[in-house]
Symmetry: C2
Subunit: 585 residues, 2 copies
C-alpha cells in the first residue's frame, strides 16, 4: 500500500478554517511515481524497499530534529507507523468500544480503532491525542516516552503527536483513571495510555472543513458557489449566535466536504433522529396491519398535469419520475391490499432555490380502506405522527439536546391526549379573520391558504391551544385536485385535510373518489379531459372491478425532521440534498 | 353519486375469460347525461329523483320478470340497492372480520364489507354468494326470500344473485353453522344468512381477467402485446401443468388488468412474502447496530462507466439515475456512520427482455467498517440472508404453500448451522472442471463465470452439500471492478464475493479500497483515467479524511423473492415490473 504522508505537523485544531486548503490531494512520498509506471510485482517490491527507506529516514529525521535527544537508536519502530496487513497487536489486547468502557477495563491492555480528533505535543516526551470512535464518543489518549517494558521512544511520541486530525488509527493502550476527569472528552473517567499506534488511513495535512467548523451552525444556504481565491475557498462567518473563535462554513463548503460534514456531531445526531423517525412510522403502521410495498419511480405519464415533472428518454418511449406514489397506493387498495404504506424517493422538477425545497426527497405514504368514515384515515395519519413525536423525544433525547445546542429552538409542543386540535378549514380561516394579523381580516372559506396565512394560523393555534401540531380538515373543493372526494352533505368542501407542524404543512391527504362515473364528472368540472394521457389510466383502475372507499396521505420525511428540530433548512435533514443547482455529492 | 348498473346477470364464474370484454366502461343509468351538463346543485336534486325513479322501475321490472311471483309490492326496498352516504345498517350489527370469526358470533347479527367472489341463484327464492374479505379469506353467504322479520323479498334475492363478481358490498347477516362444512370457502364452519346487502362499488359485467384465471400459473411472459380482435383480448392457454377448465392469461393480460392480478391469492401471497423478507433484512441489521439511510436516485455522473444508465435533463445540467447506492454507502462510512443499510430503487437502462431483468428494482444494500478482516462483511451478508430464509419459512408458511400450489418447486435447501458452504472462486472452478459437465472441463481460475457455469455449479453444490445457498469468495482481480480490494497476500484475487441461490447470483460484494493512492493505481491498471467524470469524485472522498477499511454488498430483493419461490419470472415478484417495453401500470 502506498503511504500518504503523515509527518506534517497538523495546524492547531482551533485555527480558522480559512487558512486551510480545500480537499488537497494526498501525495504519497512514493505513491505518485510508483502508481504511474510500475507493473504489479515490481510495484510490490519497490514499495517494500521504499517502506524500509522511509523508516530509516524517519528515524534519522526524528533524532536530528529533537535537539535535546541523544542520537539513540529508535527501539520502538515495531510499535508505530503505517498499518499494513502484517501489523500485529499484542495477543492479550481486548477490543473495546467507548460506549461500554467500564471499571473492569482499568489496568487492562486494550485495542481501539478510532479517528484522531486532535493531537498535540506536551514538551518533547509526551503527547495527548483525542480519539473519537463514533458520533461524539471521544476519549483522551496519552503517550509518553518510556524505555521500559513495551518501549515508547521519543521518536514515536513525536510521530504520534504529529498525526493529522481525522486520520484513522489503531491503538494499543492500557486503560487508566485520569488524575481528574477529562472534561474535553465524552469519556471523562478513563484515559488510554498508548503503547502502540498505527495509522490505518491518513487524513490530509489540511482539512477542507475542520470538525470544529463542521459543528458550527450554518447560516448561509446559498446555492451559489463561494468565490475561490488561489484555491482557498472563502468561508462565510456565521452572523447569528454568540461570537466564537471558530468561523462557520456555508452549506456549499459542507457539501464540498461531505465527509467532514457527516462526521460532525450535529449531523450524526440529525441522521440518527431521521433514522428513528422513519422506523417509528413503519412500526406503528405494521402493528396496525399495514403492509409495506414499493411503488415505481419510472412511470409512463406525468401524474399531476405535467408541471414540475422530470422526464427522460426510455428506450423508444419517454418516462417520467414519480411525484408521488398515490396512483400506486390506490392500485394496491383496488387490488385488495386493505392497508399499505411506502417509504421512498419522490421527485419534483421545481426550480425553487429555497431552504424548504429539494428536487428529490423521501415520502412516507399510507393508504387504507375506509369502513365508515374518512376520519379513520385522518386519525391514522394524526396517530402515526403523534407516535413519532412522542417516542422520538425519549428514544433520541440526547441527540435532540445536541442538535438544539447548535440550533437552539423552542420546544415542539404537543396536544394532551384527547385534546388534539382539528379545525375545519373554515374554522381556521375564521380564527385568522378574528384573531390574526390585520392583513388577514378578509380571508374567505373557499380560497386556499397562502404560506403566510398558514404561518400566522400556526402561531395563533400555538398560543390558543398550546400545540405545534394540528389538523386542518374539510378543505374547499376549489383548493383540492380532481381525485378529492367531496363531502356528500356539503359539496363545497372535500373530505381532505392537511397536517401542520409549526405552521408549515407536512402532510396532505384525504378520501379519494372510488367511483369511475363520479370521478369522470369531477375531472370534467376541473376542466380536464378524462381521456387525456395519465388521467384515463387513472380512471380505468376503478373500471376494472369494484374498489372500496379509501383514503390516505403523504408525509415529507425531510420536512418532519427539519421542522421538528426547527432547522434553518430542510437540506440539513437530508442525507444528500438535491437542489436545482446541485447534484453533488 | 351516479349509479353503475348492477342488474346485468353476471357470467358464470367458471366461464372462459375469452368471452369477456377487457375493462369495459361502466355507464351509469343517468350518470352520462348528468355529469356532462348539470351544475352542482341541480345535479344533486336530479340524482335524488333519478334514484326514486330507479327504485320504482326496479320494483316494477322485478315483479314483472319473476313469472311465478305475484304482483306483490317489494317490502325489502330499504334492505338492498346501491349504498349511499345515507345507507344505514342495524345498530346492533357487529363488524366482523373473517380471520377472527368464531363460535361467539353464531346467532349474532353482523356486518361485513367484502367482495362478491361469486353469486348464483338457487331456484327463484334463494341465492348463494361467496364473499371474500381479504387475500383468500372467503365465506359463504345465503339469501332466501322471507317475508317474516327483516323482510327479504324475491326481488331482493334476485338482485343479490345477479351482482357482478368483484363488486364490493356491505352485508348485514346472521352467522349460522352450515349443515355441512363449506369446502369451497376458507371459512368452512360458518355461513352468513344475509338480511341486507348494498353494493358499495360495482364491478363491470365482464371482467378483463377473472379471479380464477388470475390464480392460474403464467407461462407466457412475452413483452409483445397479444393480438386484439373486436376489442376482445386473446388469452394464451397455459401449456404446462395439468389440464384445467380455466385458461391461464399471459403476463401482459395480468398487467393490463392489474387490479385482478393483485387480487389473486397467489399474488397476495407473493406480496406478503416479499414484504416480510424486507422486514427480516431490516430487523436483523438494526439489531446489529446498522443505521438505515436514503441514498439519492438523481446523481451527477454515471457510476459505472456510463453503460446502461438512464440520463435525463436536469435544469441546465444532465442527471443520471443511480445504478447502485454504493458510492453513497461508502460516503456514509467515510462520514463515520460505522454500519449502514439502505432499501430503495436502483435503475438499469439495459435493453434485456428476459424474465430475469427489469429496469427498476429494489436493492437491499449494506456497508460496514471492517475491524480485522473482510470476512466480517461476508459473514454479515451470509447471516442476513440465512436469517431471511430461515424465518420466512415459519412466518409465511401458509403463503409459501399457496404459491407452491400454483408454481410447484423443489424445497429451497439450507446448510445446517456451522456447515455453510463457502468456496473460493478457484475451488468452484475446480469442482466444475472435475465433476461438472464436459463443456466445463477447461474453465480457468482467472476468468469470470458465465451464467451456464454458475447454474451447473449450483447443481453440483446442491448434490454435494445439500444446499441451494452458498458463497463464492476471492474472485479473480480481472473479474472485479476498480474499487475491489486485492488480497494483500495474493494480488491475483480480490476480497470480493458473490452469494448464490439455486445457481443464480443474488448478491455481489466485497472489501473496497480505502486508500486514495492505491485506488488511483488500480483505476489506472484498469485502463481508466482517475481524473474522469465520476471517478474523480469517487477518489476524492478518500482524500477528504482518513477512511477506515470497509466493505459491503448489494442484494436484489426481487430476485431473492423470485428465486426462493423458484418463480418463472422475476416480474411476478415485483409490484410493478418495469421492462424496456413496459411502464404501465
Amino acid at each position: 500500500m502506498a503511504e500518504p504522508s503523515t509527518s506534517a505537523v497538523p495546524p492547531p485544531a482551533e485555527a480558522p478554517a480559512e487558512t486551510r486548503v480545500a480537499a488537497p490531494a494526498i501525495d504519497g512520498e512514493d505513491g505518485a511515481s510508483i502508481s504511474k509506471k510500475a507493473a504489479k510485482k515490481a510495484e510490490a517490491k519497490a514499495k517494500k524497499e521504499a517502506e524500509k527507506a522511509r523508516r530509516a529516514a524517519e528515524r534519522a529525521a526524528a533524532s536530528g530534529a529533537s535537539g535535546n535527544a541523544a542520537q539513540t537508536e529508535d527501539l520502538a519502530t515495531e510499535n508505530y507507523g503505517q498499518e499494513t496487513h502484517e501489523t500485529k497487536l499484542s495477543a492479550d489486547a481486548t477490543e473495546i468500544n467507548l460506549r461500554t468502557l467500564g471499571d473492569e477495563h482499568v489496568g487492562k491492555t486494550v485495542e481501539l480503532r478510532a479517528w484522531i480528533q486532535n493531537a498535540r505535543m506536551q514538551g518533547a516526551k509526551m503527547a495527548f491525542v483525542e480519539l473519537r470512535e463514533e458520533g461524539n464518543w471521544t476519549i483522551q489518549g496519552v503517550i509518553a516516552a518510556n524505555p521500559e517494558g513495551a518501549p515508547v521512544s521519543r521518536q514515536m511520541v513525536k510521530w504520534v503527536g504529529a498525526i493529522n486530525p481525522e486520520s484513522f488509527v489503531v491503538v494499543e493502550a492500557k486503560v487508566e483513571r485520569p488524575l481528574e476527569p477529562v472534561t474535553s472528552c465524552r469519556v471523562s473517567d478513563y484515559e488510554l495510555h498508548i503503547t502502540k499506534c498505527f495509522v490505518h488511513a491518513a487524513a490530509p495535512a489540511g482539512l477542507g472543513l475542520t470538525l470544529a467548523a463542521a459543528n458550527r451552525p450554518i447560516t448561509n444556504f446559498s446555492d451559489e458557489e463561494a468565490p475561490v481565491e488561489d484555491g482557498v475557498e472563502k468561508l462565510s462567518i456565521a452572523s447569528a449566535g454568540e461570537p466564537s473563535a471558530i468561523p462557520a462554513a456555508n452549506m456549499l463548503t459542507h457539501l464540498n466536504n461531505i465527509v467532514m460534514h457527516k462526521r460532525s456531531a450535529v449531523q450524526q445526531a440529525i441522521a440518527d433522529i431521521r433514522c428513528e423517525m422513519k422506523e417509528l412510522f413503519r412500526s406503528y403502521l405494521r402493528s396496525r396491519g399495514f403492509k409495506e410495498f414499493e411503488p415505481p419511480c419510472l412511470i409512463a405519464a406525468a401524474s399531476e398535469g405535467g408541471a414540475n415533472v422530470f422526464r427522460l428518454p426510455y428506450f423508444e418511449k419517454e418516462a417520467y419520475l414519480a411525484q408521488s406514489p398515490q396512483f400506486y397506493k390506490q392500485i394496491e387498495i383496488a387490488g385488495g391490499r386493505k392497508r399499505v404504506f411506502s417509504i421512498g424517493p419522490v421527485f419534483r422538477a421545481e426550480n425553487s432555490n429555497t431552504p424548504r425545497h429539494m428536487t428529490e426527497f423521501t415520502g412516507l405514504d399510507l393508504e387504507m380502506e375506509i369502513k365508515k368514515d374518512y376520519t379513520e384515515v385522518l386519525f391514522m395519519l394524526e396517530g402515526v405522527l403523534l407516535h413519532i413525536f412522542k417516542n422520538i423525544k425519549e428514544r433520541c433525547a440526547e441527540e435532540i439536546a445536541l442538535v438544539r445546542s447548535i440550533y437552539p429552538c423552542e420546544e415542539f409542543l404537543l396536544p394532551a391526549d384527547g385534546r388534539e386540535v382539528r379545525l375545519t378549514f373554515a374554522e381556521g380561516q375564521k380564527l385568522l379573520r378574528e384573531e390574526g394579523p390585520d392583513e388577514f381580516r378578509n380571508v374567505t372559506d373557499d380560497e386556499d391558504m397562502s404560506t403566510p396565512q398558514e404561518k400566522a394560523l400556526g402561531a395563533l393555534i400555538r398560543k390558543k391551544y398550546g400545540t405545534d401540531f394540528y389538523v386542518l380538515d374539510k378543505f374547499p373543493e376549489t383548493a383540492r385536485p380532481f381525485y378529492a372526494k367531496e363531502d356528500p352533505t356539503n359539496r363545497k368542501v372535500t373530505n381532505a385535510y392537511d397536517l401542520f407542524m409549526r405552521g408549515q404543512e407536512i402532510c396532505s391527504g384525504g378520501q379519494r373518489i372510488n367511483d369511475p362515473v363520479e370521478l369522470e364528472a369531477r375531472i370534467r368540472t376541473k376542466g380536464v379531459d378524462p381521456a387525456s394521457a395519465g388521467i384515463k389510466d387513472y380512471v380505468d383502475i376503478f373500471r376494472q372491478a369494484g374498489v372500496p372507499a379509501h383514503g390516505g396521505g403523504g408525509i415529507g420525511l425531510d420536512r418532519v425532521v427539519a421542522w421538528y428540530l426547527n432547522l434553518p433548512s430542510v437540506h440539513l435533514a437530508a442525507y444528500y440534498p438535491r437542489t436545482p443547482k446541485r447534484l453533488l455529492p
